[in-house]
């Protein structure tokens, strides 16, 4: 169900991890035993099958495997819905028979951008890695962006008219630069890994202007390319216990006291601050003469005081 929902959004990117790494969510390190490559093509085909069953038109740009191999495993119902653009057999158009697409992969992508067929469509790029190796990166990014946003050029885009672009990327072929750029362009990113023969997909979903959400889903793909979602692999006794991450408590090791004992708190509450407004003070202000002596100033002039009873300003000639 979760994977179905991912299909509803445009721009998905699936990339398999060739050496199974310790990509497990619980944080314990596990020695890697498996040597099976967690390949993503079967997941791609499973997603394509789902799209086709939903009635969407599916275009496939096949670059890495032949058409027969790609169509293998799909039944005829689905195969009839797939429109396959073959770039594997003759990528440089040497045979010039007219069967292959002229202009190479770039022209094929641009033709997909310009399609005018109404209705939702899914475009699967069999391998983005292949395209990255054959096309300049900026052109590819711009074309991908146009592909996934072509419906916004038209007037109103109802949700059914969305274009879903699925791309397969082999992570180990590229450096951190291309991976970072493509993941920033994509709306959903699925990283494949697994453990104990069970494949898992780490899905990162970036919504515009909102925090990205991620989850890990264990799954398996049946021979007819249906997707089966599962819970985790059967638990085994772990060789190492999980290292406990101590939570940082900022109130430890302080040089001052942050807490008050009960007695201290009572003393603090009963203390009257000098400028605190209390009823006594209010009374004192309102009725100054009641029971209190008014203040006087008593001044005893000293021998050294120079007191003059006259007005000192008389000397001035004003």
């Amino acid at each position: 169900r979760h994977v179905r929902q991912r299909l509803r959004r445009s721009g998905g990117l699936a990339r398999p991890l060739a050496p199974p790494t310790d990509n497990c969510p619980n944080g314990s390190s596990r020695p890697s035993h498996d040597s099976v490559e967690w390949e993503g093509r079967s997941l791609l085909k499973a997603l394509i099958k789902k799209s086709a069953l939903c009635g969407e038109q599916v275009h496939i740009l096949g670059c890495e495997v032949s058409e027969e191999e790609f169509r293998e495993g799909f039944d005829s119902n689905i195969n009839s819905r797939l429109v396959y653009h073959d770039l594997f057999r003759d990528p440089l158009n040497w045979s010039e028979t007219g069967e292959t697409l002229p202009g190479g992969p770039l022209e094929a992508l641009r033709a997909l951008c310009r399609r005018t067929h109404p209705g939702p469509v899914t475009i699967a790029l069999d391998s983005l890695s292949w395209l990255l190796l054959h096309l300049p990166c900026t052109t590819l990014c711009q074309t991908l962006h146009t592909l996934s946003h072509q419906d916004s050029c038209r007037g109103d885009s109802s949700p059914g008219e969305q274009v879903h672009v699925l791309g397969l990327l082999h992570e180990e072929l590229h450096g951190p630069g291309p991976l970072g750029v493509l993941s920033s362009l994509a709306q959903t990113e699925v990283t494949l890994s697994g453990a104990l023969g069970q494949a898992s997909a780490h899905i990162l979903y970036r919504r515009p202007q909102q925090r990205p959400t991620h989850q890990t889903q264990w799954f398996s793909i049946l021979p007819d390319f249906s997707l089966e979602l599962q819970g985790g692999p059967p638990l085994e006794p772990q060789p190492y216990p999980d290292p406990r991450v101590p939570s940082m408590d900022p109130t430890t090791h302080l040089t001052f006291n942050l807490r008050l004992s009960k007695k201290e708190r009572e003393a603090k509450d009963s203390l009257t601050l000098p400028f605190q407004f209390s009823s006594e003070k209010q009374q004192a202000l309102l009725c100054p003469g009641l029971g209190q002596a008014t203040s006087h100033i008593f001044y005893e002039p000293d021998a050294y005081d120079d007191l003059d009873q006259e007005d000192p300003d008389d000397d001035l000639d004003v």
Binding site: R110, P136, C137, T138, T139, C141, Q142, T143, H145, T146, S152, G175, P176, G177, P178, G180, V181, S184, L185, R206, Q209, Q210, R211, P212, S247, M248, D249, P250, L273, F275, Q276, F277, S278, K281
Partner: protein, 384 residues
């Protein structure tokens, strides 16, 4: 006796009055008063453009960035003729917000906008600007906030009794000020404000034809087109003083989104050593030249976390005037750190320009954190 002499009638007394009058005005210098026709630019000593104010330090003309907290950190605002560079956070959630605040401030103060993007249509960007908090709405919002705050805090404060009589100082946004407005992020700007404003959009996929043959050039084609576009707007609308303007002077606010990403045709995010290593730096240099000679201010967001070559990041920082970096906690270990649990990320003021000045107005506080509340983007000193 002197009074009796002046009371006399006849020409002789009139003559004496004239003589006395001329004796009073000893000097022939006369104070030039303000003329009735205020359109002469020569007599108005201060250029008073809406939405600007002179800096208190050096008199530099400043515009607001849309966030009064950020204005304060930058020393009063963004100087006219300079570039504000925002280093994007990893998932590009908060930097578009600062971008939109800048543009929204331009609409509210009546400045002309120029929005350039390779990813989104500028018209769509303008639709998503936050709504300004004006006088009547603002009081309602603030009372709501203050009420929520009061019910949360249960610490009683004992204050000196004389202060209880004074009216409480609240951080209520003063929306009647002409510099720096507050915005509500959860609402969209009203359509009539956008229609009343003047804006120009540059959407790269429309301007660049896809069948362009990629000849190697020292400067990226997209950047050349963008610079030409900006230059045309500045010249045609007279922001550089080229047309003797009869009308009121105005500021051009330029916003460029995601500069340096591959959608602009630049591959500095792709590899460390690429052919167009210098495109972005040259673009910034030329842009700054355009800005310095015109009444404009520019905000640029750059995905520096994707740029592979650290030297380019350093050059880009040096070529901009004000640089603010956003670091969000999503996905990093700081997300679970109890020190940072109240905030969504850190904001780093990496550079402030020294314009006609020997020192700059650097704030003392270096630990600044931001938080995106439902309606407001706040910047606070992180309490660590």
């Amino acid at each position: 006796m002197a009074a009796a002499a002046t009371c006399g009638t006849g020409t002789r007394s009139t003559g004496s009055m004239v003589v006395s009058a001329s004796r009073n005005s000893v000097t022939s210098f006369q104070r030039r008063g303000p003329r009735a026709s205020g359109t002469d630019s020569g007599c108005s000593r201060l250029v008073s453009i809406a939405g600007t104010r002179p800096s208190v330090r050096n008199g530099q003309l400043l515009v607001s960035t849309g966030l009064p907290a950020l204005d304060q950190l930058l020393g009063g605002g963004l100087a006219v003729g300079t570039v504000l560079l925002i280093e994007e956070d990893k998932y590009n959630i908060y930097s578009p917000l600062l971008f939109k605040y800048f543009l929204a401030e331009g609409i509210v103060t009546g400045h002309t906008l120029l929005v350039a993007s390779a990813k989104e249509d500028p018209a769509d960007i303008l639709q998503e600007l936050p709504a300004p908090l004006l006088d009547d709405n603002c009081k309602k919002e603030c009372d709501e906030d203050i009420y929520n705050h009061k019910t949360e805090s249960n610490i009683k404060m004992k204050i000196a009794w004389r202060y209880q009589l004074l009216p409480k100082m609240e951080a209520r946004p003063v929306s009647s000020s002409r510099f720096g407005h507050y915005y509500d992020v959860s609402k969209r700007i009203p359509q009539e404000l956008i229609e009343a404003s003047k804006w120009h959009g540059f959407f790269l996929p429309e301007k660049i034809s896809s069948t362009l043959n990629l000849e190697p050039c020292s400067l990226n084609h997209s950047y050349i087109k963008l610079l030409q576009f900006i230059q045309n707007i500045i010249y045609e609308e007279g922001f550089d003083g080229s047309n003797p303007q009869k009308k009121q002077k105005n500021i051009l606010r330029i916003g460029i989104q995601n500069l340096g990403s591959p959608l602009w045709g630049d591959d500095i995010c792709w590899t460390e050593n690429c052919d167009s290593n210098h495109s972005l730096t040259k673009f910034l240099y030329m842009l700054r030249g355009l800005l310095r000679s015109s009444l404009s201010a520019c905000i640029i967001t750059v995905p520096t976390h994707l740029i592979q070559n650290k030297a380019i990041i350093a050059r880009v920082t040096n070529l901009s005037d004000t640089v603010v970096g956003l670091e969000s906690f999503i996905g990093s270990e700081k997300e679970t750190n109890p020190f940072y649990k109240d905030y969504h990320g850190l904001i780093h003021i990496r550079q402030i320009p020294q314009l006609n000045n020997l020192i700059y107005d650097v704030s003392d506080v270096k630990d600044l954190a931001f938080k995106l509340k439902r309606k407001l983007f706040t910047i606070e000193i992180s309490r660590t």
